[in-house]
Amino acid sequence: MMQPVSQPASADPLLRVENLVVEYPLGNKTVHAVSSVSLDIARGETLGLVGESGCGKSTLGRAVMQLRRPVSGKVLFDGQDLTAMQGDTLRRMRRRVQLIFQDPIASLNPRRRIGDIIAEPLVISGVKDAKKREQLVHDVLGAVGLDPQLVTGRLPHEFSGGQCQRICIARALVLNPEFIICDEPVSALDVSIRAQILNLLEEMKARYGLTLLFIAHDLAVVKAVSDRVAVMYLGRLCEVGPSEQLFAQPAHPYTALLIEAIPVPDPDVRPAESVAVGEPPSPIAPPSGCRFRTRCPRADQRCRDEVPELREVAPAQFAACHHPLIGPA
């Protein structure tokens, strides 16, 4: 029996996450990193995932890949539940899913040459022919805009952040995956390189027919590449909907707050004085009811007592809020 999912099932999702729960033990307490999150990503779609530092975005990404085993819930990739898989079966499935990390520099082994770093996934997956590996590395470096001749023999520390991220993208693409989880792929990069990497990801997506889960904290960046956007807060999903619609008419107060806090490159616009009031609550003891209630201007008793479920507030737009900014109250 499938668990009920509180979002429209896309006809043919490549990835379906159902009621995923991920926790970390911390002393004798528990960090509730991801609490009952459900998501669908259609084949060929880019789903953007935004939310505050520590809200569980990376944990969700890692749990999708089974790098961190969830406490409960399912991760259906192409119809098969990854949470039920072990050993070789899981390793084979994992090849179809790749992860690009938040920190490009730290995710490259400092003592290995770039050529070897990119060839490593090929070695692990059993491509024995060294000539063939060399060719694949050469091709993928070219695809991400690096000159293979200049790059393969060098070490990671000789490259700046943007170049390291291109290398990470090349390493993720070399096995020809179907699905890539991009965990803050441009957060550490400056604007001009960021624009290039975003354009590159869009190009690679088209060229390799990829489906993407794009994690970032910058809303403008997420909007630039995503078909739909999901907003997370303290382990829970707040809102999900088509990108433009979500930005034009956010339903969840947290989404609205995020949109307001975007720094604008105009010295006449005074930055909003820390819009998010109060301390971010601890995921060790999350607030009862709605987890955003301690910082929400609309919070009332109901928000304290009842966990809001995701419901449709506009066509294809879902929000978990008792008093959404749009839609039926």
Binding site: E52, A188, V191, A195, D218, D227, I262, P263, S274, A276
Partner: protein, 329 residues
């Protein structure tokens, strides 16, 4: 600039020997900053922002060659002995790096690191140091600070790690704080809080601050002056409102255009600056931006433009064909 400079960087150049030849990471930079002021340094990945901050702090890689002077509070840091430098860095000069793992020790708990810093530089006893550590963690917005003291850096999310790094940097009440991309990995609401936190601490301590960032949005609302770097050099420098309203450098204009705009449609290709910055081991004869500049003409390929004074006070740019003065970009 008002008042005498607390820090003045005079003709600083940094050369790094690499297998491909000499790499000039910083090329004759002059900058200054007074107590209580904030200077923003913006520029593309690899342009030398971090090397410049390391040159100021005397934390360059061993093989690096530094020329020029770094006058801080009346003394040239380049000529200071190691012991005095170490004392100064712990107390008067603090730094927060792009990657918080650079400033945090992975094998020590957060508590140990904070407490040891406080004990060493402020000569507090262990009880007082622990109390102060908890206060500092709470001040930078870390929930459940007492429990976090027992955690190791890897157990925290990226944003939390950066808050801890900031707490350590502020712990000894420095005169100058250099923040190298302090909020790059953080989401917008937390970014706003951390920048507010830094601004608040700066006012309270009359601390000078250098914010290094690629985000023109961050410098727009939060700095007194901005220096734009390209290929190791400062190419434009102005009081912040002047830079945005009367920018003269084509590079500054391109940098502003490459920012994803929140009101743009998803999947719109971004106006990335084409190409890459020049290979720093192969410096160009002419303007280093010329291969990417849409205004380049013959002179740009053979001569290097020097920093010239613009009409408005404190505004300098290095370009043969500057954008028209007084025309907002």
């Amino acid at each position: 600039m008002t008042g005498p400079a607390l820090l003045s960087v005079e003709g600083v150049a940094v050369d790094l020997p690499t297998p491909r030849g000499n790499l000039r990471a910083v090329d004759h930079v002059d900058l200054s900053i007074g107590a209580g002021r904030t200077l923003g340094i913006v520029g593309e990945s690899g342009c030398g922002k971090t090397m410049l901050s390391r040159a100021i702090l005397q934390l360059l890689p061993k093989k690096a060659k530094l020329t020029g002077r770094v006058m801080f509070d009346g003394q040239d840091l380049v000529r200071l002995d190691r012991e005095r430098l170490r004392k100064l860095r712990g107390r008067s000069l603090a730094v927060v790096f792009q990657d918080p793992m650079t400033s945090l020790n992975p094998v020590l708990t957060i508590g140990t690191q904070l407490i040891e810093t406080l004990q060493e530089h402020l000569e507090l006893d262990s009880v007082a140091a622990k109390m102060r550590s908890i206060e500092l963690l709470a001040a930078v917005g870390i929930p459940a600070p007492e429990q976090r003291l027992m955690q190791y850096p890897h157990q925290l999310s990226g944003g939390m790690r950066q808050r801890v790094a900031i707490a350590i940097a502020l712990s000894c009440e420095p005169q100058l704080l250099i923040a190298d991309e302090p909020t790059t990995a953080l989401d917008v609401t937390i970014q706003a809080q951390i920048l507010d936190l830094l601004a608040r601490e700066q006012r309270r301590r009359h601390m000078a601050m250098i914010i290094i960032t690629h985000d023109l949005g961050v410098v727009a609302g939060r700095t007194d002056e901005v220096a734009v770097m390209y290929a190791g050099r400062v190419v434009e420098r102005a009081p912040t409102p002047d830079l945005f309203k009367r920018m003269r450098m084509p590079y500054t204009e391109a940098l502003l255009a490459a920012i994803p705009k929140i009101d743009a449609k998803p999947h719109t290709p971004l106006p990335a600056i084409s190409g890459r910055p020049p290979d720093p081991t192969r410096p160009l004869r002419g303007c280093s931006f010329s291969p990417r500049c849409k205004y380049a003409w013959a002179q740009c390929l053979i001569e290097k433009p020097g920093l010239e004074d613009a009409d408005s006070p404190g505004h300098q740019y290095a370009c043969f064909r500057p954008l028209a003065a007084g025309v907002p970009a």
